[in-house]
C-alpha cells in the first residue's frame, strides 16, 4: 500500500538511444505540423430539416430503460440524431432527476462496435421471416415454444405474454441472475401475496438496512437516495438529521454512509433481524391484539451474539416510532424480508415511511421466475423450441441447472441478444436484439407508473425486441415495435383523446399520476411466528462464507463490454477492470493471503480462481465475489476481466454459500485507482459526530482562513463560479463520475493504463478508511479540480496554457499545452490528467458518435482536467444574453451536479449573495481541503457529520 504506483521510480522501458532518437524526430516534426492548411471540411445540411431540430442545439427526448423489470426514466440529449448523454428525468418517480451509472453508460453500449449485426442460422446470414418460419415449423410437431425473457414490467410485453398463454403453444419463463425472488417470496410470506414496498426515506428518521444497498447508483431507484438525503440536511448545528444503521457482510455504498454499521456474515443477518424483531415484540409496552403468538414465539428464541446490538437499536427505533423504517436486501432470504415487514408494522411505518403496491414486474413471485421449471420441461422432452430473449443464461444461470447442456438437447434453439455470447454460441439461430435507445418500448417504475421508451437514433442494426419476438409467435409476424406499444397503450390511455395523451406522456417521460394505487395488506403474524420459531441451523463456527453480489459496474455481466463502466472505479473497492475476492484484513491474515494473490474458491465441489483484495469493512469470514465477470466472449473489451462467480453459484444458495479457500502461488495483477487509504491525520475528508459538532460548531473555521500570500488576486468579473460539495450527502455512489465521462469526452485507458495511474477521470471519488468506534469507518470525497484562486498549476506552466479567467475558472487551454506536466506535478490535489496516448483518435468510428460536440476532443500530449463544465456555463451565458435577462440561480448545472442523486453538489455564482451556493458558503461546516497551502480553492466542502447511536438523542 505505497503512495506511488509500482515501478514509478524505475527507469522507463526505453533505451537512452531510442529516447534521443524520438526526441529529435518529434522536435523536427513539431515544426512541420504547423505547416498544414487543414483539411477541407464540408457542411452537410439536411435535405428536409425536421422542424424540431436546430443544428448545433441539442434535442432532448424522454425515454425509459428497464433493468430487472424496473423502469427508470431518463432524458437523452441528442445532437443531430445521435444521443450523447443521458440524464435523469425529474418527472419519473424512479429517476427523480438523477440517473445511475448503468443508465448513463447505456449510451456507450448503443455504439458498441462488438454488438451483433446479422440474423444468422448456424453462423450463416438469414432473415427474420426465415427465423419465424423455422420456429413455427419446429419438430416434433405440436411441442411448445419455450421463451426465456428477462423479468419485465413492460405493459405491451405483458399483454403479448397473456395472449401467448391463451393460445397455449408458448410458455414464458424469466431469468435474472440478480432477481428479486427472495423479496417477493418474503412479501408473500408476510402478507400472503406479492407486494412491492415503496420506501419513502424522507419520512424515516431512523433506517435499518438489513443488507440492502439502497443508496447505490446501480439498478436502484435514484429517488431513494434523493429522499434519504433530505434527512441529512444540516445547515445549523441544532438541525435534526437522520440515522442510518447498516447490517451487511461486505462494505457497500450504503454501509459507507451509515452512522452505525454492523459487519456480519450474510447468513447471520437473519439472526440479527430476528433478534431485532424480538426486541420490538417483547419489550414493546403495549402490543396490538393478535400478536400473542408471535411474541410468544419471540420469547422462545435462543440468544444470539447480536442481542446487545439489537436491544440498543430497538430502543432507538421505538423512540422514533412512526418515523422509523427497516428494509431488507435482495440477497437475503424471504424470512428476513418478512421480519422487516413485521418490524415496519410494529413501528407504525406502514402508511408513512413505507406503503405497499402491486409489483410492476409481470408475474412477480410466480414459479416462472425460476428456470428450474424450464429444466424439468427440457428433461421431459416437452420443449419443441427454446427462444432466449436477452440475458445470457448459458453463462449466468445457476451452475447446477447446467443450462448450456440442457439447451443443447432442445431440437431448435434461438437467441435474441446483443452479443455473440455463450448462449448465442449454443443457439441454432441468432437474432440481434434492439438496444432500447433505438426502438420503441415501455416499462413501469417500482411504483407502477408506466412510461414509454422511444428511439433516439436511427438503428444501425436490424434488431428485434422481446415484444416483436412474442408477437411473431402469436401470429403478428411483421409488427413494428411502435405499433405494438401503441396498441397496448390504448388501454392505459383509455380516456380522452389517445393521440394527444400519448404525445403528452411521451414528452413528459412518465404517465402523470400513473402510480398503482397503494394497498394495505394485513400482516400474517402466524407466519412470522412460524419463521421466528424455526431458526436456521447454526453454521459451523469459523466457516468461511462466499457472498455473491451484483457488481457496481457490470451488474449481472450485461455491461461487461462497456468500457466506461469497466474503467469506473468501484465505489467501495476502487477496483477497475476486474472483480476480486474481497476479504477482511483479518481473514486475509488468517488465510495467509495478500492483495493480488490468486485463491481457489471451492463451493459444492466446483472451483473458481479469483484474486484476493483485502478490504476493511468486510465481515470476518466472508469472501465476497461480484458476479458478471470472467465472460469468455472473444474480441471484447471485457476479455479476460475478472473471475466468473457464476461458475460456482448454485441455485440452492444463490446469494451466499459455504466455501473452502485454497491458496495458490499465482498472482493476478489488479488495477486500483486508489492504493493509499489513509489521510495521514490531515483534515482532508473531514468527519465529525453530531455531538462533536454541536459542542464545537466552529471546528472548521480555521480551515477557511486565507494564509498570507505574495500573489495578489486577479480582478473579478461579474460572475464568480464556485462549487460546494456536501460530504454529509455524498454517498460515493459514483454516478457523477460516469456523468463527467459522458459529458466531457473522457477517454478510457484500459487496465494497463490504470495500473500506471494514467486513468483520465476528471472527477474521482477518494475513499478513506479511519479507525472508527467499532472497527473501521470510511469516508468518501469527490475530488476534482478545485479551481484555486491562487492556483499552483498556473504559476509553473511555461506556455501559459493554464490561466485564470475573470469569472474565477482555472482554464486549461489545450491548444497551447505542450505537455511539460509541470502543472500536474505542482497540483496538490492531483486532479490533472495527461494524455499519454492518442486515446480518442484510436477509437472505433461508432464510438465517436458518442462524443459531445461541445467539448474539445483532446489529443496526445495534452493536459486536461475538470473545467466546471465550462461549455454549459458559456452556453447558458450566451442564451441568457440572447434573451436579455440575467442568469438565474441554479440555471447552470454541471454534469456531476445534474446526476447527483443526493444533491450533494451545488454550483453557482458566489458574487451574488442570494444564490444557493452562497448560502452553502455560510454553513459552519464549510472548509477548504489543504487550506494551509493557501490555494484558496473555489471548490469547497461541507464536513460530514455522522449521527451514531452513542451520540445521544438527535433532537
Amino acid at each position: 500500500m505505497s503512495e506511488f504506483p509500482e515501478g514509478a521510480d524505475a527507469p522507463p522501458d526505453i533505451t537512452r538511444r531510442d529516447l534521443l532518437r524520438l526526441l529529435g524526430a518529434s522536435t523536427a516534426l513539431a515544426g512541420a505540423a504547423g505547416c498544414s492548411r487543414g483539411a477541407t471540411e464540408f457542411i452537410v445540411p439536411y435535405v428536409d430539416q425536421p422542424p424540431e431540430v436546430t443544428p448545433g442545439v441539442p434535442t432532448l427526448y424522454a425515454t425509459t430503460m428497464q433493468i430487472g423489470g424496473y423502469g427508470t426514466g431518463m432524458v437523452v440529449e441528442c445532437h443531430e440524431g445521435r444521443p450523447t448523454k443521458a440524464e435523469g428525468n425529474p418527472e419519473h418517480p424512479a429517476s427523480a432527476g438523477a440517473l445511475g451509472t448503468f443508465e448513463q453508460a447505456s449510451i456507450l453500449s448503443l455504439y458498441d462496435p462488438a454488438r451483433a449485426r446479422l440474423i444468422a442460422r448456424h453462423g450463416r446470414p438469414a432473415t427474420w421471416r426465415q427465423f419465424v418460419r423455422a420456429v413455427a415449423a419446429r419438430q416434433p410437431k405440436g411441442k411448445q415454444i419455450h421463451v426465456v425473457l428477462e423479468p419485465t414490467s413492460s405493459p405491451h410485453v405483458a399483454g403479448l405474454i397473456e395472449r401467448a398463454r391463451v393460445r397455449g403453444d408458448v410458455v414464458v419463463h424469466y431469468h435474472a441472475p440478480l432477481g428479486r425472488e427472495a423479496a417477493w417470496r418474503g412479501a408473500a410470506l408476510a402478507f400472503g401475496r406479492v407486494v412491492e414496498p415503496r420506501w419513502d426515506f424522507a419520512r424515516a428518521e431512523v433506517v435499518v438496512s438489513l443488507d440492502a444497498d439502497f443508496l447505490a447508483a446501480a439498478a436502484t431507484p435514484m429517488a431513494w437516495a434523493r429522499a434519504w438525503a433530505r434527512t441529512r440536511v444540516l445547515d445549523a448545528p441544532d438541525d435534526r438529521i437522520g440515522r442510518l444503521y447498516a447490517v451487511e457482510p461486505r462494505l457497500t455504498v450504503t454501509g459507507m454512509s451509515a452512522d452505525d454499521r454492523l459487519a456480519v456474515q450474510a447468513r447471520d443477518v437473519r439472526a440479527v433481524a430476528a433478534s431485532l424483531l424480538r426486541e420490538l415484540l417483547v419489550a414493546g409496552a403495549s402490543l396490538p391484539a393478535g400478536l400473542e403468538v408471535a411474541s410468544g414465539a419471540a420469547r422462545g428464541m435462543p440468544t444470539t451474539p447480536y442481542d446487545g446490538w439489537a436491544k440498543a437499536v430497538a430502543r432507538d427505533l421505538r423512540a422514533r416510532a412512526g418515523a422509523a423504517l427497516v428494509i431488507a436486501g435482495d440477497g437475503q432470504p424471504p424470512a428476513v424480508h418478512a421480519f422487516a415487514h413485521a418490524m415496519n408494522e410494529l413501528l407504525g411505518a406502514v402508511g408513512r415511511a413505507v406503503t405497499y403496491g402491486p409489483s410492476p414486474v409481470h408475474e412477480a413471485g410466480d414459479a416462472s421466475h425460476d428456470l428450474a421449471g424450464l429444466a424439468r420441461a427440457i428433461d421431459a422432452g416437452d420443449v419443441g423450441a427454446l427462444v432466449v430473449v436477452g440475458g445470457d443464461p448459458a453463462y449466468s444461470a445457476a451452475v447446477d441447472l447446467d443450462f448450456a447442456a440442457r439447451m443443447r438437447r432442445v431440437p431448435l434453439t434461438a437467441y435474441v441478444g446483443p452479443y455473440a455470447n455463450d448462449t448465442a454460441r449454443i443457439a441454432d439461430w441468432f437474432v440481434p436484439e434492439a438496444h432500447f435507445l433505438e426502438t420503441w418500448g415501455d416499462a413501469r417504475a417500482f411504483d407502477g407508473t408506466p412510461s414509454i421508451a422511444q428511439p433516439v437514433i436511427r438503428p444501425a442494426v436490424e434488431g428485434y425486441t422481446a415484444g416483436q419476438v412474442l408477437a411473431a409467435f402469436v401470429g403478428i409476424e411483421d409488427a413494428t415495435s411502435r405499433d405494438l406499444v401503441r396498441t397496448a397503450w390504448r388501454s392505459i390511455l383509455s380516456t380522452g383523446d389517445f393521440d394527444e395523451r400519448w404525445a403528452r406522456t411521451l414528452a413528459r417521460g412518465a404517465l402523470e399520476g400513473g402510480a398503482a394505487p397503494p394497498v394495505t395488506p394485513p400482516l400474517d403474524w402466524d407466519a412470522i411466528a412460524g419463521e421466528l420459531r424455526a431458526p436456521p441451523a447454526p453454521p459451523p463456527t469459523n466457516a468461511l462464507e462466499v457472498v455473491y453480489f451484483g457488481d457496481a459496474k457490470v451488474h449481472d455481466g450485461r455491461f461487461a463490454n462497456n468500457a466506461w463502466l469497466q474503467e469506473l472505479a468501484d465505489p467501495v473497492t476502487k477496483l477497475t477492470w476486474d472483480n476480486a475476492a474481497l476479504v477482511s484484513p483479518a481473514t486475509a491474515a488468517r488465510l495467509g493471503v495478500a492483495k493480488e494473490d490468486v485463491v481457489e474458491l471451492h463451493v459444492r465441489g466446483r472451483t473458481v480462481r479469483a484474486p484476493v483484495l483485502p478490504l476493511p469493512g468486510t465481515a470476518d469470514g466472508v469472501v465476497a465475489l461480484a458476479v458478471g465477470y470472467g465472460q469468455s466472449v472473444a474480441d471484447m473489451v471485457s476479455s479476460g476481466a475478472g473471475a466468473d462467480a457464476y461458475a460456482v453459484r448454485d441455485s440452492r444458495a444463490p446469494w451466499f454459500d459455504d466455501v473452502a479457500v485454497r491458496t495458490t502461488p499465482d498472482k493476478w495483477p489488479l488495477a486500483l485507482t486508489q492504493e493509499h487509504w489513509s489521510m495521514e491525520g490531515r483534515p482532508i475528508a473531514l468527519t465529525r459526530t453530531l455531538d462533536e459538532y454541536r459542542s464545537d460548531p466552529s471546528f472548521a473555521r480555521r480551515l477557511n482562513e486565507a494564509p498570507l500570500s505574495l500573489y495578489g488576486l486577479r480582478p473579478a468579473g461579474v460572475h464568480q463560479w464556485a462549487m460546494t460539495i456536501d460530504l454529509n450527502a455524498c454517498t460515493g455512489c459514483s454516478a457523477c463520475v460516469v456523468a463527467c465521462m459522458a459529458e466531457n469526452n473522457i477517454p478510457v485507458v484500459g487496465k494497463g493504463g490504470v495500473r500506471l495511474s494514467r486513468e483520465m477521470h476528471w472527477l474521482r471519488i477518494d475513499r478513506y478508511f479511519v479507525e472508527g468506534r467499532d472497527g473501521v469507518a470510511s469516508a468518501v470525497q469527490p475530488m476534482l479540480c478545485q479551481h484555486c484562486e491562487r492556483a499552483p498549476c498556473e504559476y509553473v506552466c511555461p506556455v501559459n496554457a493554464t490561466v485564470h479567467s475573470s469569472d474565477g475558472l482555472n482554464e486549461m487551454v489545450y491548444n497551447r499545452c505542450v505537455g511539460t506536466r509541470f502543472c500536474s506535478n505542482n497540483c496538490p490535489y492531483k486532479v490533472r490528467r495527461f494524455n499519454f496516448f492518442n486515446y480518442n483518435a484510436d477509437k472505433p468510428d461508432s464510438l465517436r458518435l458518442a462524443m459531445n460536440p461541445d467539448v474539445t476532443v483532446r489529443a496526445r500530449g495534452v493536459m486536461e482536467k475538470c473545467t466546471y463544465c465550462v461549455q454549459r456555463i458559456r452556453e447558458t451565458e450566451i442564451r441568457a444574453r440572447r434573451e436579455e435577462r440575467p442568469i438565474r440561480d441554479l440555471e447552470i448545472v454541471t454534469a456531476c451536479q445534474q446526476t447527483c442523486p443526493t444533491g450533494a453538489i451545488v454550483f453557482g455564482d458566489i458574487a451574488d449573495p442570494t444564490t444557493r451556493v452562497s448560502a452553502t458558503r455560510r454553513n459552519p461546516r464549510l472548509y477548504q481541503v489543504l487550506q494551509e497551502l493557501g490555494t484558496l480553492p473555489r471548490t469547497r466542502y461541507l464536513a460530514r457529520v455522522t449521527n451514531p447511536r452513542t451520540a445521544g438523542r438527535s433532537s
Binding site: 457542411i43 435535405v47 428536409d48 436546430t54 479567467s805 482554464e811
Partner: protein, 248 residues
C-alpha cells in the same frame, strides 16, 4: 584546423601555443603541404555561423508570417461548390435576406447552410428545369444531402457562436465581407485568434444596431466608433476575452 576556425583565433595565448608546438618540431618531420583551408575560409565560416544564427530567429518568424498569409488562412480564395450558387443574384437581384436561408444564425452556434427544402421553396416553381439547379433537384428527389465546401473554417478547438454575435450587434458583413458582391463565396477575414481578439478587446468600431445586422450596405450615421459605442451601451456588449470563451 577547423577548431581554430571557430575559436577566437585572436586569443594570443592559444595561437602562440599552437605555433610553439610547430616550432618545437612536432610537425617538422611531415612534408610541407598547402593548408587545406585558405585564409578566407575563416570569413566564410563565420558568415555561415551568422546565417545559421539568423535562420534560428528567422525560421520561426517566417513560419509565423507564413501562417498569417492568405494562402494558409484561405482568404480571398473562391471555393467551388456543388451548386453554382450566386449570392449576387439572390441578395441583390431578388432581395432575399441573409436570414431567409441562414435562419439558424440567430438561435444556434451555427449559421448553417440551408436544407435543400429551402432551395426548393422557390425552385420547385422558379427555374424548375434549369440545368444548373440539377444537383438541387437530385438532392431533393433522391433524399441525398448536398455537400457544401466550408469557406469559413476555424480549428476544432474553437467554439464560435453565431447567435451570440448576431444578437449583440455584429453584422454579417463584419466577418463575412460583401457576400452580396461575391459570385463564388470567399473568406475575407483571416479568422486568426489575433483578429478575433482585436474586436473582442475593442468592439466599438464593429457594432451596429440589431435592425441592420444583415444589411450589407449600411454605413454608420456618425463615426463607426461613436455609433458602436452607443450600440454597446444599449445591448450591454461585454465581449469576453477569457480563453474558455472560445476554447472549451
Amino acid at each position: 584546423m577547423s577548431c581554430v576556425g571557430w575559436l577566437p583565433t585572436r586569443t594570443p595565448g592559444l595561437t602562440l601555443a599552437i605555433r610553439a608546438a610547430g616550432d618545437r618540431g612536432l610537425t617538422s618531420h611531415l612534408p610541407q603541404m598547402r593548408p587545406v583551408f585558405a585564409p578566407s575560409s575563416d570569413t566564410l565560416f563565420r558568415l555561415c555561423l551568422g546565417l545559421a544564427a539568423a535562420a534560428i530567429v528567422a525560421g520561426p518568424v517566417a513560419l509565423m508570417l507564413w501562417v498569417r498569409t492568405p494562402y494558409v488562412t484561405k482568404q480571398f480564395n473562391p471555393v467551388d461548390q456543388p451548386v453554382a450558387f450566386d449570392h449576387r443574384h439572390h441578395v441583390r437581384d431578388d432581395g432575399i435576406d441573409c436570414l431567409y436561408c441562414h435562419y439558424e444564425a440567430t438561435r444556434s452556434p451555427y449559421a448553417g447552410a440551408p436544407p435543400t427544402s429551402v432551395c426548393m421553396n422557390c425552385h420547385s416553381q422558379v427555374w424548375p428545369e434549369a440545368e444548373r439547379l440539377a444537383p438541387i433537384r437530385a438532392s431533393w428527389f433522391q433524399d441525398r444531402p448536398l455537400r457544401w465546401q466550408r469557406v469559413h473554417q476555424v480549428p476544432a478547438f474553437v467554439y464560435f457562436d453565431h447567435s451570440a454575435h448576431v444578437s449583440h450587434g455584429v453584422g454579417c458583413v463584419e466577418c463575412h465581407g460583401r457576400v452580396d458582391l461575391m459570385g463564388q463565396v470567399y473568406a475575407v477575414a483571416p479568422l486568426t485568434m489575433q483578429w478575433c481578439l482585436d474586436c473582442h478587446r475593442d468592439p466599438d468600431p464593429h457594432l451596429r444596431p440589431r435592425s441592420e445586422i444583415t444589411n450589407m450596405e449600411w454605413t454608420p450615421p456618425r463615426s463607426p466608433r461613436e455609433t458602436g459605442a452607443e450600440v454597446r451601451r444599449q445591448l450591454q456588449v461585454e465581449p469576453p476575452v477569457n480563453c474558455t470563451a472560445c476554447h472549451r
